[in-house]
């Protein structure tokens, strides 16, 4: 029995705007409950929605990047249902006339080839609030998230594995992060997916009945739930049963899908055009403006780094991991560093700092220009590499600028006479070490170099010191 699994996705991405979709409340998560409310998002009597321009612009950018056709006229409709996290008793969405049609998500197939998941449409809508079970048997409703701007990306069904489905979501996430539309934080629920799964036999002309798994917010859960659910459906069908079209719950710990009790199979949402919102007009000039403001695509940047700037492909990968990394790297190059230097210092220092300080690059206090200055001093042989690294670290720790510290740092000493003086001093003081080196053991060289650095209060040019040490010891 060879079953083919078909998956369709509905990806919800919260757009990274300052305010909510239809009101001026701050769009945020992670604060105390119900801090960001107003009559509009709380569904008070007399309140009316007003569309957030920035959400529309981000939506256009997403559509362009996913290859969709942006519609000149689209409309908002009310999706009516009762749920405590939906205070108006309806969600403002786009049902009949979404703003974008078609498009595709590129992803890597299991066999390494390039796959494409066609899209049906993308539409804008508002998010709901959150309900949390309390210990006393009640639920606590937090409306902070309510009415945040969402994009819903609806794909066609396509034959694929769970791993491939997860890759589709990953690919979408990376793209949306890249163009600054969504921060892709799945833990916070800013990106989540509803997964529709059906199976059919090879040769069947019709797709099987699908079940839906909602609000999956990790790649693992997407991958595993597809596998588990298609296996479950196979068992049911092989035993002569039928698959009911329903929404099922994914249990991550038990790795199984469960029936949802008490949930209506196909709720009647009674969609109708929202009379409080006029038609949304998106002119071709709006689309052009967004297209022009899109950042260099991931692919174009990769090509530029590897082919033009000759960065090693593996090194390029770390710089390409986030658009902001590449932006910083480009700034280093613009400040005068060679691509190779910029790459080394970015990966070796900046990324290391971010890691150590558990900081995101948006909060990184050092500017590319100030780092470039230090690197130039190193490459100009005025200070050692070690010194350069030290300066950056101190600047970070003390919260001041590297330029300040650089100005106070003396240049390393390259004068041979002075260097010979210190080296001779140290060699005389460490005859055993010198003897070992003469005998062919190069290990103590590092120790002796360190001693010279100490003797010179860190000012000696380390590379020259090493050369002189070797020369002196061999000639003695």
């Amino acid at each position: 029995m060879s079953w083919k699994t078909v998956v369709g996705l509905e990806i919800h991405a919260q757009m990274s705007t300052r305010s909510k979709m239809f009101c001026a409340c701050v769009r945020s998560t992670g604060t105390a409950p119900n801090q960001h409310l107003c009559p509009v998002c709380t569904g008070w009597p007399g309140a009316l929605p007003v569309i957030n321009q920035a959400a529309v612009r981000r939506a256009i950018r997403a559509a362009i990047s996913l290859g969709c056709g942006v519609q000149r006229e689209s409309r908002f409709d009310r999706k009516n249902y009762f749920y405590p996290d939906l205070p108006k008793g309806y969600q403002i969405s786009q049902f009949y006339r979404p703003y974008a049609l078609g498009g595709e998500i590129p992803f890597e197939r299991d066999d390494g080839s390039s796959g494409v998941l066609p899209l049906v449409r993308i539409h804008m809508e508002e998010d709901a609030g959150k309900s949390v079970h309390a210990e006393d048997g009640t639920s606590r409703i937090d409306l902070n998230r309510c009415s945040s701007p969402l994009l819903e990306i609806v794909t066609e069904p396509l034959q694929m594995s769970g791993v491939e489905a997860a890759r589709c979501v990953r690919s979408t996430r990376e793209l949306l992060r890249w163009i600054g539309v969504c921060d892709g934080d799945m833990e916070k629920g800013n990106l989540r997916a509803d997964v529709n799964v059906s199976i059919h036999r090879q040769g069947d002309t019709v797709l099987g009945t699908r079940t839906e798994l909602k609000n999956l917010n990790s790649f693992v859960s997407i991958e595993r739930s597809v596998e588990v659910e298609s296996a479950r459906q196979a068992l049911v069908l092989e035993a002569g049963g039928v698959i009911r079209q329903e929404t099922r719950l994914w249990d991550q710990d038990l790795e199984q899908t469960e029936e949802m009790r008490g949930k209506e199979d196909s709720p009647d949402y009674r969609y109708f055009p929202d009379p409080d919102l006029p038609v949304l007009i998106i002119e071709s000039s709006d689309i052009d403006r967004e297209r022009d403001s899109l950042p260099e695509s991931h692919l174009a940047r990769k090509t530029r780094y590897i082919d033009q700037l000759k960065i090693d492909a593996r090194d390029a990968e770390s710089i390409l991991a986030r658009r902001e990394f590449g932006d910083f790297f480009d700034q280093l190059v613009a400040a005068g560093l060679s691509p190779a230097s910029a790459s080394n210092w970015f990966r070796g220092e900046v990324l290391k700092h971010l890691n150590d300080r558990e900081e995101s690059i948006e909060d990184y206090p050092l500017t590319a220009a100030s780092i470039a200055e230090v690197v130039e001093a190193v490459e100009g042989d005025r200070i050692s590499v070690a010194k350069g690294r030290e300066i950056l670290q101190v600047a970070l720790d003390q919260g001041c600028s590297p330029a300040q510290i650089l100005a106070q740092t003396g240049e390393q000493v390259s004068d041979e006479a002075a260097l010979i003086g210190w080296v001779q001093q140290v060699v005389d003081a460490n005859p055993d070490a010198a003897e070992k080196i003469r005998a062919g053991d190069s290990k103590p060289l590092g120790f002796l170099t360190g001693q010279v650095m100490k003797a010179s209060s860190g000012q000696a040019h380390p590379r020259l010191v090493q050369q002189i040490l070797q020369r002196l010891i061999q000639h003695d």
């Binding site: 009101c23 105390a32 009559p39 509009v40 309140a47 957030n52 606590r140 409306l143 006029p278 007009i281």
Partner: protein, 102 residues
């Protein structure tokens, strides 16, 4: 066309409680109204007519800047306390309901 089952189903969609004694009255009422409304069927709609753009042609697309408001701006109260005061059950800064299932 209108029967008890339809009235109960519709009432449930609207989360309206209907007692058994209310049913006959509601069935009759709905029937009467739908009779009245039947006249719509006799109005001739031109071929290809579309009503799907917007209910009123008099207004045009409108959006607002992506700015978050200060509490003193027009646009209503932002103080959580105001929402708590008008809520039927508000504890520890949240709206409270019976357990939400599903």
């Amino acid at each position: 066309m209108i029967d008890e089952a339809l009235v109960r189903k519709t009432a449930h969609l609207a989360r309206l409680e209907v007692s058994d004694d209310e049913i006959p009255g509601l069935v009759e009422h709905l029937e009467k109204i739908l009779d009245l409304v039947d006249i719509l069927r006799s109005v001739e709609i031109p071929e290809g007519h579309r009503s799907d753009l917007h209910v009123s042609q008099a207004t045009v697309s409108m959006t607002r800047e992506d700015q978050s408001s200060n509490p003193t701006d027009a646009g209503g109260p932002r103080d959580p306390a105001a929402f708590g005061e008008n809520a039927p059950d508000w504890r520890d800064g949240s709206f409270v309901t019976p357990r939400v299932v599903g």
